[in-house]
Structure formats: structure tokens, C-alpha cells
Symmetry: none
Subunit: 209 residues, 4 copies
Amino acid sequence: MAYNDKHIQIIETAEELFAKKGYEASTVRDIAEEAGVNIAMISYYFGSKEKLLEALFNHRLGNLKMRVESLLKNDSLSPFQKIDILIDEHIERVIQHEGFYKIMLCEQVINKNPVIIKLLLEIKKRNSGLINELIIDGQEKGAFKKNVDVILLMSTLVGTVIQTLINCPFYREYNEMKKTPAKEFEETMQKRLSLHVKKIFKAILTNEA
Amino acid sequence: MAYNDKHIQIIETAEELFAKKGYEASTVRDIAEEAGVNIAMISYYFGSKEKLLEALFNHRLGNLKMRVESLLKNDSLSPFQKIDILIDEHIERVIQHEGFYKIMLCEQVINKNPVIIKLLLEIKKRNSGLINELIIDGQEKGAFKKNVDVILLMSTLVGTVIQTLINCPFYREYNEMKKTPAKEFEETMQKRLSLHVKKIFKAILTNEA
Amino acid sequence: MAYNDKHIQIIETAEELFAKKGYEASTVRDIAEEAGVNIAMISYYFGSKEKLLEALFNHRLGNLKMRVESLLKNDSLSPFQKIDILIDEHIERVIQHEGFYKIMLCEQVINKNPVIIKLLLEIKKRNSGLINELIIDGQEKGAFKKNVDVILLMSTLVGTVIQTLINCPFYREYNEMKKTPAKEFEETMQKRLSLHVKKIFKAILTNEA
Amino acid sequence: MAYNDKHIQIIETAEELFAKKGYEASTVRDIAEEAGVNIAMISYYFGSKEKLLEALFNHRLGNLKMRVESLLKNDSLSPFQKIDILIDEHIERVIQHEGFYKIMLCEQVINKNPVIIKLLLEIKKRNSGLINELIIDGQEKGAFKKNVDVILLMSTLVGTVIQTLINCPFYREYNEMKKTPAKEFEETMQKRLSLHVKKIFKAILTNEA
DNA sequence: CATGAATGAGCGTTCATTCAT
DNA sequence: CATGAATGAACGCTCATTCAT
């Protein structure tokens, strides 16, 4: 299904509201008003509010597929370089689309729209498979140790990143960076997070730190 | 504020429904019916649906306070032992009250009941403080290295554990354990998760794995 | 039915609230709380909220009966003196129990509790009868002219007084007496109103002014 | 704000019910059912039950403005003729829209919707001003005496008329006109009331009767 | 005699969706 | 193709009242 400009406009407005107030608490009226379109348009374009949510997931996750694939198949990078890029790209993506990743998190936890759950499962399967290939590759090259639990590792990556984002305001307060400009703080945060996760991956994959 | 048996009954029924369908999608009618009480009881006991949610958080987080404290102040345990216990108790707690921790996660992400946000912030502050003391203690004893980012470390613990729980069905399928009895799978899962997180902590705290 | 102190306390609290917010908008909870008694007391003492309203009418109108009677039967007063006293006592009474007379007005207009309507009808009948006697007496004494419509006259008395009370805030503003102390204003108002009504009665009863 | 036919239909149904049972005791369900519209229409059209009440006041009082003005500015009528017309038109209006004037009375006494109170205050101010001009005109022409309290006079007009309407059933019984056809009784009543009020005005304005 | 606990009924309002145009 | 008008269903909540103690 191809989305035109108006579709995208509605989808991204919905994303914003879903992230701010949650799916259930966001009304189609709000979304329509915020997006500057008629209320009936949402049912008309997407069929229902739920289908709009599914459209959002398709919109955000549709292009993701080939990116990971092409990265992992790139022969000019070492396994470790790939891991590092993988981590940084994930962090980058989550920060860029923080709202969407919050929605995704909640959707996995509570709402469980079957279409979305299926979509996410497929992505997890594919990504796990690809990363597993990468790890096997690294093991064969002697870079990584054996017995790596891919999914636990992925959970640590994904979980640490989203949890860090959730804790952002607290982190800022705790480290007395309240007066640091937002942008500067964000960059610092992102750099520290990146190093932190990379160190974890190195430890898990190599027995070293 | 003390809750009687009926309060608890309603609170835990609400917990179940909130975890299953989300706060907004759970109606007071559902909760009342499921709990076997009159619909008016919820307003009567708690004031409102939102106050019921707050009561749930008080109920689950109220006793948490002294537990961590007493553990960390226990002089007969080494810093590493404390870390290990901390991790295991957290995993245990989240598994035991999976529903609640899912609700808590979503509450931090989308709904933002100020009472709850404040409560969580206080807990985070206190826990961060205590764990920081523990780490400093370990550093002074030469067990831990310097420059540890407490909050990133906590985010990894909390994030990894909840993300693993979220990925549980996928994990089971991926590792072809669909036919493993639920209980056995859960125990395996818990053990692996525990080792995984402990390894991460060791790596971060000591530069070794 | 005899009311004890607690009955009276509840009745007069209810009067206050009914006058302020209307009968329907006043809740038994409010009344009980304001009166400092248990919520169940109201049903327990009076049977229902509606019976409480009836009790209020009995309480305020019960003693009224003999007062008018004794005045009119007083032989030492001229018909005109009696009229003047009647007017002043009515004004006095309405000002004193402004709240109650507001409730009474509304009750006649909208709520129409049959017990109350019957009670008010009886009072109107008796008062009309008595005043009619007074007028006939005055006519026989040559003081009053013939063909006086008692009820229209009573309507003017009652209507003018309550309407004046309703218009009080406006009257104050219109006559630029906003800075006049409340008590002083009230006295001025009462005096003017008294003179105004008396002049009307004189005109209607005698063809003079 | 312009009301279409369905708006009017709902407004006038609401007027009927508010007059019969009071604002609070009339439910939007009753109104919707009686008006033959969906219950959601009331919120949809007016925003809320309270706004519907405000709409009723706008509907009934909106056109009133220019009527009084044009009457008073009519140079071909003597001050006395204007007074008489004013009285008759007021009586006519109140009889025609008895329900509304009952609602208005109660609204001034107990509920105190600020929008309505403000609207009524404005009307009172304007009307008082206009009538004051009329009286001054009459005084300059030597027809009226000095020292007339406009507001007391208006209170007598308004109060007498509404009080007479309230007392109608009693009046009928008292004067043994129970068997008189409703229409005939009403006409008689109206004529007597008109004469009564005019006599009062003449007395107050001229010292004669 | 008095009351805390509890409740069925019903409140005003909002919701996502439909449909005629 | 797009939309204003409309709606059935359900929402959270409050009400006066009851009843066991």
C-alpha cells in the first residue's frame, strides 16, 4: 500500500499523539484536528483508528528491512565494526523516532494488535537471524567467543537504549546537567550510551572489556 | 494508607486488566465485574479510576523501599555478592509481578500521571543513591573500577530484564522450546537472564568478563 | 411532628444549601457534611431527601399561622394600620428568611411536591380569607373602596418583595451604592420597599395616593 | 449564533421540560427523547446541557432588545400610552412564554449560570435606562411626578405578573371559576391583571388613582 | 438509636464510525 | 473523491437510599 502526502501527514500526526498520550487516549478527533483534515478522513483513508496504527508501523518499519541486511552483507567491514555500526544506528534511529519506539514498546506490552505483533515478530526473526549470521561469522573469524545468546544480547541493546531514553530527565537531574543546553546534553547522552552498549557487547562477545 | 482485603482484591484485578489491555482500554466496569464487586465500589474506595492506578503503584512499590536498603547495608556480604543479589532479586520481582512492571513501563512512557511519575522518580533517586554507595564501597575495596555510570548500568539491568520478558514468546520459538513445559522454560530463561546480566555487570564494574 | 435540635440543624443546613444551589443540585452528602452529621441520618430522620424538604416547609411555615390571625383580630388597630403592619412584617420575614422564600418561590414554579403545594395552598387560602375579612372591615368602616381583588393585591405584595430581593445586586449597582455598607444599604432598601408597597396598597384600597 | 430548525426544536423541548421539572431534574435523555432526537445531539449541537440552557436564554431574549427600544422612541405616543403598552406587552409576553419566565425566575434565584446572569443584568440595565428616559420625558411633560424609583416600579410589574401566574390555579379556585373554560378564564385574568398593574403605575407615577 | 459500608440506577458526556451528499 | 451531520454504545462517575450491626 502506497501512502500519499495526506496519508503521511495523518500518520505522523497520529504518531505524535500516540507517543504523547497513548493510543487509547488519543482520539481520532484530536488527530484529525491536529493534522488539519476532516474527522471522517481517518476512517475513509485507513478504515479505522486501529488500521491507522498499523499503517504507522508499516510506515516506520517498512524501510528498515533492507538497511540491516545491506549492512551485514558488507564485506569490507569487520564483525566488530558491524556490531558498532549496528549499535550506533539503533541508538540513532530510536533517538530520531523516539515517539514511535515508545509506541512500539507499549504496543508489545499491552495492546497487542495481532497484525502489529506479527509484523514485529517477523522483523525480530529476520534481525535475529542476520545478527546470528554475523556472530557466527565473527566466531569463525576467531573474533567472537562461542555460546552467545543472540536474543538476550538484542534485549540488552534494545532494552538499555529505550530505558535510557525513559530515564533521560532523571539522568539529567541526577548528573546535575539541568542547565546544559538540550542539544548538548543529548549529544553527551548519546555518546555515553553508545560507549556503554559497545562495551557490553564486547564483553559478551569476547570475554574482554 | 492501609488497604483491606477488598481494596487489595480490586487493586490486583485492576493490575491484571491494566497489564492485559492497558489502563485506558480497561473500563471500571470490567474491573468491577472481574473483581466481583459493584461498579460504584471503585469510585467509593479509591475516588476515581486514576486514583486506583495510583493505589496500585503504592501497593506494589510501598514495601520495596526498605528491602534494597537493608540489603545494601548488610556488612557480611561483599560488593559483588550484593550486586548479584540485587540482580537476582530484581529479576525475581519482575517475573513475579510481570503485569505490574509492564504497566509501570507504559506509565513512564505515555500516560504521565504526575503522582506516579513523582513516586517513581523518588524511588529511582533513592535506589541510584544506594547503588552508588555500593559501587563506591566496591571501588574503595578495590573490587570495582572507577568511572562507572550508575544510571546507564541501572538502565541496562531494568531494560534488559523487561525486554527479555517482552521477547519471551519469541525467545521460546526462536530456541525451539515451544514444547518445553512453561515452568521449565521459565526457569531456564530466568537462569540465563541472570547469568547474562551478571556478566554484563562484572564487565562494566571490573573490566573483566 | 416535633423536631429536636439535630433535626433543626439538618433542616436549616438544608435550607441554606437549597437556597444556594437549588433542591436538585444539593446532595444529601453536602447537607450531611455541612451539618456535621452522618449521611444516613437524613434518610433515617426524615425518610428521604424530599421529606426533608417538606420538613423545612413545616418548620418555617408552621408558626406563621397564628401570627397573621392574631394581628388581624386585634381590635385596637385601624384597617390601615393593620395593612401597614402586614406589609412590614412580610418584608421583614422575607428578608430574615430570604433563603427559604427563594426555595418556596422555586418550589411553586417548578418542583411541585404535592405535600408542599397543598400546604402552600392552605396557607394562601387562610391568609386570603383573613385579609379579605380585613378589607371588608375597612370597607364597612368607609376606609377602603369597593371592588378590591385580594389575590392580585397579595400577588403584588409578594411579587414585589421577592423581585426586589432578586434585583438587590442590580439595584445597588444601578443606584451607585456599591460602596455603601451592606447593612446600611439593606436598611435603605427595606425602607424604600416598605414605602413603595404601602403606597401601592393605599392607592388600590382608596383611590388615593 | 444562528439556530436551525432542529436547534429550535431541541431548545423549545428543553424549555418545556425545564419549566415543568426544573433544570437539574430534566435529563438530557428526557429532552432528547421528547424532542425525538438522538441523545448525543444535545452535546453535539450545544456542547453541554448548560450551554443548551444558555441557548434557550439567547433564543428567547435575543429579539427582545429592539422591541422595547422602538416602542419608547415612538414619538406619536404619550408617556402614559407607552407605559400602558409596556405593561400589556410584558403581560402578553410572560403569558405567551410562561415556561420560559418561570425558568428565568428560578435561574435568577438559585442556579447562577454566570453567562445567563450577565445576560439578564445587561437586559435589566438597558431596560431600566430606557424606562428611566421615558419617565423623565413624562416628568418634563408634566405628566409624571418626581422621585420615582424605577427599579422598584419594574420589580412590581415583573413580580406581580409572575406571582399572578403562579397563583393562577389558586385564583381560579378562590374566585369559583373552576368551571369557566380555560381560555375565557385566562382572558379575564389577563384583563384584570392589566388593569391592576396599570392602576398601580398610575398611582406611583402621578399621585392619583 | 445511630452509622459505616455498600449499591442499583442513572447521570452528562465522549467515542469511533457511518452515510447521504 | 471528500465531508458535514449524525448516532449507538459505552464511558467514568455520582446519586439517594438501604441495611447489617
